[in-house]
Structures are given as C-alpha cells and as structure tokens.
Point group: C2
Chain length 152, copies 2
Amino acid sequence: MYIGKMKKPNDLTVDVWARLLRLNKIALKRMEGKLKTEGLPALAWYDILLELERAGVAGLRPFELEDVTLLPQYGVSRIIERIEKAGFLQRLACDDDARGQSVFITDAGKILRQKMWIVYGAAIEEVIGENIGGADAANLSRVLKQLIEKQA
Amino acid sequence: MYIGKMKKPNDLTVDVWARLLRLNKIALKRMEGKLKTEGLPALAWYDILLELERAGVAGLRPFELEDVTLLPQYGVSRIIERIEKAGFLQRLACDDDARGQSVFITDAGKILRQKMWIVYGAAIEEVIGENIGGADAANLSRVLKQLIEKQA
DNA sequence: TCAAAATAAATGCAATTGCATGTATATGTG
DNA sequence: CACATATACATGCAATTGCATTTATTTTGA
C-alpha cells in the first residue's frame, strides 16, 4: 500500500478543474448535438479525418492515430473500420511492416470533413470565440499549453 | 435549410478549444486510471455522491441530478439504480409527487466518496495545482466561469 | 540463428450507452 | 369534471465501449 504525503488540491485548483470539466461537457453536448441535427457523424470521426488529411499522402499507421487522438488501441481499430466501411478512408497493407497497415483519407472523406467543419467550426466560435476577448484567449491558450505539457 | 452568416473561429479560438479538449482527455484518463487501479468506481459515481452529500437530508430528485451532472435522463436513471444496488445511495418515494422519488446518500456512500476523494483530489493536484501559479489559476477560473455562463 | 519478448492490430464477450418508447402521475383548460 | 398535454422516471433494443485475449510479425539477445 502506498504511504506518503497525500497531495491535496486547494479550493482554487478544484474550482478550475470543476469548471474545465463542466465547460467541456456543455460544449461537447452542443457540438455533438449540432452535428447530429445536421445528419453528420460524431466528433470522433472528425478527429480521425482531420489527422488523416494533415498526414497527406503518407497516411498514418493506426498506432499513430492512437497517439494523436488518445483513443485506446481497440478504439482506433474499430473507428477506422467503421469509417472505412462508410467510404471515408482507405486502408492499405504496410510494405515495410507486415503486421501493419497505413490509413488514408479518401476524397469523400475530405468532403465530409469540410462539411463537418462548417458545423463544428461555427460551434467552436459560439462556445469559445464569441465569449472571450483576445487577451484572455491568448492567456488561456498559453496556460492550457503549459498544463498539457506538464502531463508527460 | 439555414441560410445566414456562417460563423468561423479564428486560429486562436480553435487552438484554445483543441487544448481544452486535449487537457480534459489526458486528465480524465489519468484520473479514471488511478481510481480503477485503487479498485474504486468511476468519476461518474463520484459526481452523484458529491451532489447527494451536498444536498444533505433533503436529498435530490433524479431530475435535479440530471441538471447538476448534465447526464441524460436515462443516464441518471441507470446510474442511481447501480449505485443503489451497491448500497451507496437510497431511493425513497416522494410524498408530494407520486411520479417521483428522492435520492439520498448512505453512510457507506459517504465513506466511499471520501475514499474516492483521496485519489481524485490528489490527481487534480497533480494535473492542475502543481502545474499552475496562483495568478494564472485565478485568471483561468475567471475565464472559464465566464465561458460557462455564456452557454445559457 | 533461434527462442523469448515486444509490437501491431483484431476480436469475443460483457458492460455501458443512446434512442425511442412506455407507464404513471400531475397540471392546465374548456 | 374530463380531457389533452406535460412531467417524472423506467426500459427494450441496438450500437458502442472496455477488457482481456488472440494472431501475426518484428525485434532482441543469448
């Protein structure tokens, strides 16, 4: 059993965490809701499509998608299976590693990502952009970056 | 079909949103992981127990839990069923509304919440508290509050 | 070189979630 | 009052997720 100094957050820290959590929940609910209303897939698909589009002709290996999306291995395995079935990405056997494959976005996938971005981008603007000034946004970005980087 | 000015976020706004999303994912993964490692239930249970403990002897109606937790109605219905089955809360028919019930935390529930807090609180400190200065934290709290409030 | 360990990805099965609907009671209105 | 509508909560069923394990291949190192 672990013995040692038990770290405890102060009230401000708890407050920050509670609000991060709440903002995320509210925002995601709105965003997913809008996508659904428009008959579009969920954000998880967007993330995959975006990363694949960024990767370009090189494509991405599933384990690389795992890293960038923070999804579990089986999550990536299944989501790419579904997106492929829907025609928005393509999988090809990897020539330098017979265990693996490379994943590429299709033209239909690029179009879908663009359609989703119209809705998603607008929602981001509604939730964040419209409600924060430039200085606050710059600071927020900086602090969030710092927090993320500390989570090595 | 909707016609109108399509709002678009600027790069800084997208950056802020992307980082909010990423920090939440990382943090939640760490927190849920630690709880699981300790053989404790997931954060969703903690949220319910915390709200019930706050509510005290008055308890809470399921629809009130829905509001505070942002869970869907069926989500609340099921989570309280499971937590009750595990003995950490109790449901009683509501005397002024025969459709409803009131939910109360049990003594075992209070103990569980306390145990979870040891782990959860420490994780909050690791993820947030340790990595941010007081001034930044105060600012972050303020800006997050502002963003949440705008999401009426 | 070859066996052991590590890595890439998939999958069976149980648990959870989402969606739509059902049941019961309450409220509002003519 | 009587009916229509709204609210509170539960639940059947399909889809998704989590966990543990499997299969295939690559890497390591004695």
